[in-house]
Each structure stands twice: as structure tokens, then as C-alpha cells.
Symmetry: D2
Subunit: 345 residues, 4 copies
């Protein structure tokens, strides 16, 4: 078993990392770190645990450490669920100290030499680590996963781009509350309401999608325009996607491309890889947030309502994914599994 | 005072008609009609009244009549909140019998000789009545208002089209529960969920917007692609709109066009016309469904987040309107006021 | 494997029966029956399946049969999720035909010779079957589970009554939407709302609790007064319980009684019996509906906030249970397991 | 017009005070005070305004003052929406400085010489001011309104106690989100959930009800046991009330007592007094939170489902009131009107 630390372990994404790593066949959580407020105390005393399953017993008793590679020692890899402002420097410190950092933070996602991995879509970007190590003179490394709504969008765009060529993408999201962390969105702001704004989210979707779907060192040539909205669902981001295509395609061909699609994680049979990265629902009213978000244990993106769009000169469809699993901790763990497969861990 | 009948008076839109007509300066509800199940009984006995304000007293005691011009007599105009299947023939019967029918039903909206009015946007379409009467040999007439989500969309598109020219429109909606009537959406289907499907809604938005924003006898040349979704809000449809423009425009110019926009109803100072058909909010997180839906007593469309969209080669923004007021009964009443101003009633 | 039929298989409780029986170690669903509308068709074609897990494959293809012992043959037992009006006669027909009917319907619950089982509380009531068979001359039998809110209430009352004696009970419920079936509660009736009324529910809680906690042939001597309310939660009934005691008891003693409590199903290690029928949470703000409803795979009742109540001269506490599992299909299956243990199946 | 200051003006209750005082016939807001963070800035810049109606124009431009009688000068009365910890000393300072403080804070509610007013129930408690001034040597005074859930409970208990005598009361609440202020309850804690705990709320209901329904200097002889729960409604506290009576009463007599009930505010025709302090709904499923909370412009308590309770030896019923109006700012303003009627202002 490889020993893993979770940085930012008390927050919502930190909790999901710990929950998903419980009984993981390769990794075990051997250290947790969080902000000063919590250090020195037992994890179970400081984590305001918000998940229906209990805190895994061996983690509950861990002492919370300082976010510092001198304190967090003897680990084989580090999962970072740190807030962006803290992550920037802390992750570099860990990488410099020789750790492989698998991060959910946005700080380094757009660094040209840092892989931004949604591994079924761009497994080959792992190779950026070589460049990163050379340039930064690190023995460790930083690998990031995408922003939650980008993770959901980029998976179904991948086979479309491969098979039909994408010219541009318009996307409108209906995002879940857990995406804002805890306490996050106030209940008075969301009961009987929609909030048509999520700080920085549109910019992230636009640039991260391009990076993921491009070559390792060159963003995709097509552009994305996003409009992001918060709705009263607990988990699961649902997205209305309009795609202009280079080559005409019937909806049935696009569905077929979705269904045939597998990535390297499926071929390698990685433990967290869902059997199908993209699951197609054919009912006229699916995917639905609550009914479909746990597909592939939260790691599949579920698509539906694939239809012709003559206005967009392409297709439109609905995509849904679990924002804290495929869109955060689950993708991070899958990234770590890829790194192990590639012998970086 | 002019005497008005409400057809389909017991349903949700019928109830809103009755509520909004209470203390109307020009119209009073003197007759109510509904399906056979209710006829012969007092309105207050059969209407499962769902509004927080009580049933207006003079309507509560009305006997519910059959939906038939022979039964519904001595009225100056007829508001129709009938379901589409019943409306088709019934409205024709009333028009044939000499009544002016102001309808919220979809049955006749796309008839080339029937005005589909969102009056700030296309007041001049009233003139289609002449053609209608001539062709159908009616002394009465049918005038319709748009589908709820179309009513919200078409208002802000009007000044954009006038000032900058629209090439195409992509729209993604987040629609309220009251749009489905009562009982409508089951609670088990919407708590912690989004439903990405509303029967026929996308088709309606696409064709009705073109009709409204075209010349009386010719649809607009630009096309609309819609994706429609139901969310857990009670009232108010929020829409993410992406517009490709003929002529470049800075967001500030578009905001300016919104703010300068008034229609004939404002010039005529019609009782139900809001002071401003389009209200601009400048906060980064507005309009919000619950906070803004009652703007202009539910008759204004509130827009916000107007921003450049280089991908779409135009602008994107958020629009919000009250679906049962601007999107149904309120617009119907405003249409009737227009007809009176034009001496059709 | 014993072959089981599910009557009323297409409704919400029918679906839960089928879901919970999937991979059951003793029972397998070999027949499904429903109202005429569905007969002759495949189950997957007619069930509007509302659960996040898919329809078990072997059930999906079953032909839906008529609710009639002549059609539903070759089964070892019958689970009934029929509506009360249909259940009354249909269940008798099956029992007459020799079937053991394990019913969730209310029709026969209060029949003096029909066991109303919440088996950790009143396992000994099974013996009523003898009386029932004798009196009715049936080779089969009818055994019922309690109304959902009663199932949740009666479990924690059992050890309190045994150890301290109950004089009276006041209970106020906050019940989930799934308790009303599908489509059930309209979304417009529950978003931003509470409905303080559930048809017949208070009467059921009052009389069924007395029957369960009494001797097989004599209701308990204490009485229950209930006030029942519907809130915007999907699953899980939460109840505020005030108990007047015969013998004084400190909250800690009551907690202790809860924790020590096990019933016959635990002793027999029945497959559906939860490890602990009553789980105590000691946090000041638990149990909570969403966080705790799946405790014991939905079969445990979770209690908390046990506190002195000098006004009531006893204790007050919060109880929570899963209404479609412990309160319906799960309890039915546990009842069937008891019947098998007792050799009635 | 009398000049009023609002202390704690930026919080939720402060906002409601400002909204309700807009166009008040007797009082106008001439000063606003809040914590240091806001002082020196314009009210509209610092208040995160959460109400659908806009900030009243004359208040929007007020400079936010320090919470200090030396800063908040030239006012005829002071409304306090301060948090309890700040209120304790600050309100005393204002009273000492000669101001009449009408407070929503809990700090002084239980002081024996401070009136805790729900004025239809205990108008005569105003006389405690004499005692207060004498004892504390103040030229000003402090008058408080009850905790929100107590305000709703104590109104209907008043006529019951007067006419039939109360022996004890059991109450279980379903309380709205706005009761926790803003941001208050996290959305992740309440969607698809009930929280059976509100800090200090049960104690407040128990002791404040006794004080209100007692003589000015002596609490009522009956006791109250409360269980308090938070549900996903925006405004409006719904309460299930069980009352043991001294004298037997049929539900119809209790309804009759409710309907005949008026208090001094109604007799004096005070501007904020609702026509009926208690409104009875006779439908089996009313009052409902969203439909009934605005009755009497939020100042009436709506009751329903009055039924015999043989277990409790009395009656049980449902009560509903608007927590930020009758339960906070509205009651405070009504209290101020009473003080003016009594010439204390």
C-alpha cells in the first residue's frame, strides 16, 4: 500500500478524498494536514464531517498536521484539496521536497508545464511532468485535475472532437451546491431561486477545456463560451452543450461515438476508472441530476438528448457529472492511479 | 367597465387571470367557464385555488359555465386559459360568434393570420386581425400571447435586433415549476434535481421568437436554438442567452439599448404596462429568480450580466421574467389593453 | 431460493420491494402483478422506475400479471404493495388460495387476528396466524407491517415501555415526500412550504402503535396523540416524541435502554435485520433526515436529543427512520424472514 | 413624524425594520447604526440587502453610525436588531441616555422589570416601565418583543387560557430559514433535510411564553415543553400545539374564542395591528407556511386543524406566523406604536 497525505483534509473536497480512499486497493491515507486552526488536534475533532458515511476509523484518529513538507513526511504522494490561495506556494514546496502532488486546486492548472488531466481525455499530457521537472528542478511534481464543470464538459467533447472536429462550443451550466464547499451557498439564497453567477467559473471552463482538449503544449484551436448558474441540487453539475462541428454528424453518430469511447484508464483497468467514461441515456428526460449523478460510482459523465442543431451547425446535448467525484476528488484519485501506472509514484 | 369571461378559469393560468383582473380599471370578470366537471357549480367550490391572495369575492360566487359561446354571453371579451387541445376549436367558436378572444393557448399562435403579441416587441402585428377576419369571415378575432419562455426571451432580443441586428440566438432556460401548471411536476421529481426536458418547449421558443420578431407576415430571418430545463423554483424563468450580432456591439451599448427601450404600451400608458419593459441589474449576480421576478409587478423582464462573447461573435446575458404574468396571463391582459386602445374591443 | 410475487409492483413501494429483494439470500422475485392497465406487458415497459439503481435484470423482463391467485401461481409467498382499496379483497383471495401474504397495505392491519408486525417490537404477535387460520379457514395467511410513521415511532417506544412504563405519548412528525407515493405531493405544494396534514395518518399512528406495543390480542393501555406534517425531504420521517413515564427515568437511562435493545430478528441474524434496531446519536443536532436515514441500510431507527421533560413528566427525544424501508418494504421483507424462521413459509 | 434609529441595521432583522418602517404613518428612519466594520459608509454600500423590494431611498444614503448614544442623536426612539451579546450593554446605554429602546434582542427579555410584549396578549405589561425606570434610574426604557417562535405560540394560547384555563402545553415547531439570519443555515444542511435543533430556542419558548401569559410581575402557572426543528421554508414558523385544559372545551368553542379575540392594538387601531390577531382557516390542510404567512401583512397568526385531544385532555391545533414580521420587526414596531399610544414616546 502506498501512503498518501491529504492537504486541506477538513474541507468538503478533503472529506471526499478521505471517503473515496477508504478501502482503496493501492493508496491509504496516512497523514492529514489543514490550516493552523486545526493542527495538533485529532481529525475527528476538527472535521465538521458532512457525509452520510462515517469518518473512516483509521483517519478519525490521525493528528492534523501543518501544511508543510517538513511535517507531512514519509508519504508516497500528496492529494491537495487546498484553497487556491494557499495551494499556490504549498504545492510547490511539496513538489520541491520531492513529493508528487495530485491537486484539485486551480493555482497551477494553467501553468504550461503542469498536466491538467481528465485522463480519459488527455492521458498523454502526463508527459508534461518531464518538462516540469527539468524546468523547475523538482524531484517531485504537480499534477492537477480540472475545475468541476470543466471535467464534466471535456469528457463528452473529446470523442466529438476526435471524430467530427469541433469549431466552437457554447455551454450553460446548472451547478450543484456542493461545488461551493461548506458552508458555501446560504440556504436563503437558493430555496426557490437560481443564482446566475459563480465566481471565475466561466473563465475556468473556457480556458481549462481548451488546455485539456489540446496537445500537451498547445491548447485546442476551438473556443468555449460558458454561462454558469447555481441551482438547488446537492451534487451533480448538469450542462446544456451546443457544439459547432467541422464535419456534419447525425445525432446517432455522436451517440455512437460516445458509446464507443474508452480511455487509457479503462484499458489499464485502473481501480477508480468507471467501466464507461460516458454513459448515454436514451429517455427524453435524462440525464437528471439526482438520478444519474452516481453513475459509474460518480466517475461517469452521463449524456442524453443528443439532437441536431441546425442553428449551431452541429449538435446539442445534455451532460451531467458528479462535481465532487468526477469533478474533484474522484478525478484526483484516478490521476494518481495513472501516475502510478506510469511509474511516477 | 368591459365585461370579460375567463375560459379555463379553474386552472393555474385561469386563476392568475382572475387575480390580475381583480380591480382592473377597464375589465371585470363577469363569467367563468371550465370543463364539464365543474359546470353548474360555484367557482369557489371547484377552483382548487393555489394563490396566497384570496379568490376575489365577486368571482367566487360566479356559476361556472360551459365552454361555449351560447352559454358565455354578454361579454365584451374572452380570455382563454384553455389547454391546447380544447382551445383549438373552442376559441374559433367564440371568434365566429363575434367575440374577441385573447388567448394564452398555443393552438393558434402559429396561424399566419393570428397575431402572436408581446406588445412592446411587435405591437404592429395587431393588424393581422384584419386579414384574419377577412379570411375567416369572423366578426370576432383571436389574438395570442407567446409561450412563457418565449415572452421572456423576445423582449430583450427586440432592441438588440433593432440596433445591432441578430444573426442567431442560443438560449438555455432554467424554468419554474408553475410553468407546468398544477399539479404539474411531482415533488419527488424536482427536490435535489434538475429535469432537462420540457415537452415541446424548445420548438415553441424557436418558432414563436421568430414570428414575434419578424414582420407581421414574415418571420425574422435569424434562428433560435433552445435547450429547456426545469429547476426547483416556484415562479420565474431564467434564461442564459447567447446572441451573434450583425454589427459589433460593446456590452455597454447593449445595456444602453435595453434601458432606452420602450414600446407602444408604455407610450399609451396602458394599465398593465410596466414602467420599463426591460430592467437592467448591474450586480454581478443578478437577476435572480426569486428576487427579481416581481419587477414591474411581474411584467418587466430583468436582464443582467451583459458581457462580450467573442466565441459567439456577439454578446451573452441573463434574462428573467415571471412566467405566469409576463409569460401568460399578464401578457394576455396587456394584449387586451392594446386591443382596446386600437378599438378592437 | 423461495419464489416471491410482488403485488402492486409498479408503484413506489412495489419498486422498493423489488430493489431490496434483488440479491436477497432467501427470496427471489419470480412474479409481478399490477392493475389491469399494465397486465400482459413487460415490467420494464410499464414501471415508471424512480430509483437511482436500475431495474434488476431478471425482473425487468417479467410479464406483469393480473392481481389474482389464479394468475400468480407457483410462488412461496406474496408481498403486497397494493393500495388499500384493492388490497382488502385481493389479499384475502390469496390467503384463501393458500398463499402467505406479507402486506404493506393498511386494509387488514387492525383486524384482531392479523399480526401487525414491527418484529423487533412484537415478534410474538406472529402467533395470531394460528387464530387467523382457524377462524378464517385459510391455509395461507395475511401478515402486515405498520404504517411508515408508526414503524419509526414504535421501535424506540418498545424498550421505554418495557423498562420504564409508558403512560402516554405525544408525537409530531415531519414526513418525507416519498410517503405519499408517486406522483404524490405536487412540487408547487411543497417548495418553501410545510403541509400540516396527511390523510388518515394521525389515526393510523394512534391505533397501530397501541396494537404493536400491546399483547397479541390486546392493545397497549397507553394512548398516543399525533400531529402529522409533510416537509420537503425525499425520504425519512423525523418525529418529535414526548413520553409520559410510569417510572421516572434519567435521559441517560433511556439512552442506555435504546442501546441495549435488540429483538428476535437480531438474535436470529435474519438477513434484513440491522445490527442495531435503534441507533443513538449523541450530537446535539442529530438525527438529521438526509444524513441518518440510511443507517442500518434503512432498517435502523436513529434517535437523538434524549432529554428530560418535566412538563410531560417523562422524556422527549427525536426519532428518524426511512419510511419506504423500515416503514414499508424493508419491514415487509423482515417480516417474511421472521415467517420463514417460524416455518410459516 | 417621530424620528427612529435602527441599531443593527445591516442584518436581516434590521433590514425588515427598515422595510416595514418605509411609509410608516408615525415613524421615519433617520439614523442607522451597525458594527464598526460598516461605520462611516453609506447604508446602501454596506447592507447586503436581501429583500425583493429595494432599499427605501432616504435610508439608502444614510451614513452608518457607531452603536453609541453619543453618535445616534436626535431620535425619538430606537429599534434594536442587535445580536444578543452586543445588545446587552448597548441597549442599557441608550436607555440610560434617555432613549426608549424597542428591542428584538433576547438580552433583556427575561429581566423582571422589562416588558416582554406581544401586545394583543399582554398590553398591560407595559406598566413594568415604571418599575424599570424607578429601579434603574433611567429616563429612557427598554421594551422587548418575544423570540419568533414564542410570538407565534403565545397569541393563540392567550384566548385559550382566558376562556378555558391552560394546564400545560407541548409544542413542536417547523421553523423557517430566515429565523437563523443571513447567511445562517447552509444550503447543504437543509436541501432534502430537517435539522432537529435550534440553539437555545426550546428554552426561550418555554420561559418567554410563561412570562408573556403571566401577570406583569409573575409568570403564568402553566408550563411549556418545546421541540424545535428547522425545515426548508424561507419564512414562517409552523407549530403543532397540544394543550391540556383546566376546563373541557369542544374544538368549536376554541375556534370561537380565536375568532372573537382582539387585543388593545386592534381597539386602538394602531397602524401595524392586523384586523384580526388570530385568523382561523377551516380547510383540513391549512395553515400552510407559504400560503398563509403574509396574513394580516405578516402580523396575524393563522391557526387551523383545531381538534379534540383526549390523550392530552384538551385540544391540539396548528399555528403559523411570519417569523421576521410578527416574530421580530413587525412586533417591535407594533410595540413602539403601543408605547406612543401610552405616551412613552
Amino acid at each position: 500500500m502506498l501512503k498518501a497525505a491529504v492537504l486541506g483534509a477538513t474541507g468538503m473536497v478533503g472529506q471526499i478524498f478521505i471517503q473515496l480512499l477508504n478501502r482503496h486497493p493501492w493508496f491509504e491515507v496516512s497523514a492529514v494536514a489543514a490550516s493552523e486552526r486545526s493542527t495538533g488536534l485529532k481529525y475527528s475533532e476538527v472535521a465538521k464531517w458532512k457525509l452520510p458515511t462515517p469518518i473512516p476509523e483509521d483517519v478519525a484518529d490521525l493528528e492534523v498536521l501543518e501544511i508543510n513538507p517538513k511535517e507531512v513526511k514519509d508519504v508516497d504522494l500528496v492529494f491537495s484539496a487546498l484553497p487556491a490561495d494557499v495551494a499556490e506556494k504549498a504545492e510547490e514546496d511539496f513538489a520541491k521536497a520531492g513529493c508528487v502532488v495530485v491537486s484539485n486546486a486551480s493555482s497551477h492548472r494553467m501553468d504550461p508545464d503542469v498536466p491538467l488531466l481528465n485522463p480519459e481525455a488527455n492521458y498523454d499530457h502526463i508527459s508534461l511532468i518531464e518538462q516540469q521537472r527539468k524546468k523547475r528542478k523538482w524531484s517531485g511534481a504537480i499534477v492537477t485535475n480540472a475545475n468541476c464543470s470543466t471535467a464534466v464538459l471535456s469528457l463528452p467533447l473529446k470523442p466529438i472532437d476526435t471524430e467530427f472536429g469541433i469549431k466552437r462550443v457554447i455551454v450553460s451550466t446548472m451547478q450543484a451546491l456542493s461545488g461551493a464547499g461548506y458552508p458555501g451557498v446560504a440556504s436563503l439564497d437558493i430555496v426557490d431561486n437560481v443564482i446566475p453567477f459563480i465566481q471565475n467559473e466561466e473563465e475556468k471552463m473556457q480556458r481549462e477545456t481548451q488546455k485539456i482538449l489540446g496537445a500537451p503544449s498547445k491548447p485546442a484551436s476551438f473556443e468555449v463560451s460558458a454561462s454558469c448558474h447555481r441551482v438547488a441540487a446537492l451534487d451533480g453539475h448538469l450542462e446544456a452543450v451546443f457544439v459547432e462541428l467541422k464535419h456534419e454528424a447525425e445525432p446517432e453518430s455522436v451517440v455512437d461515438a460516445f458509446e464507443r469511447f474508452v480511455g487509457e484508464p479503462q484499458k489499464l483497468e485502473l481501480p477508480t476508472a468507471p467501466p464507461k467514461p460516458i454513459v448515454v441515456r436514451r429517455e427524453e428526460d435524462r440525464p437528471q441530476t439526482r438520478l444519474d449523478r452516481m453513475e459509474g460510482r460518480g466517475m461517469s459523465v452521463v449524456v442524453g438528448r443528443v439532437r441536431n442543431d441546425p442553428v449551431m451547425k452541429g449538435v446539442k446535448f445534455i451532460a451531467l457529472g458528479h462535481n465532487t467525484i468526477r469533478g474533484a476528488a474522484g478525478c484526483g484519485i484516478l490521476n494518481a492511479e495513472c501516475l502510478k501506472a506510469k511509474k511516477y509514484i
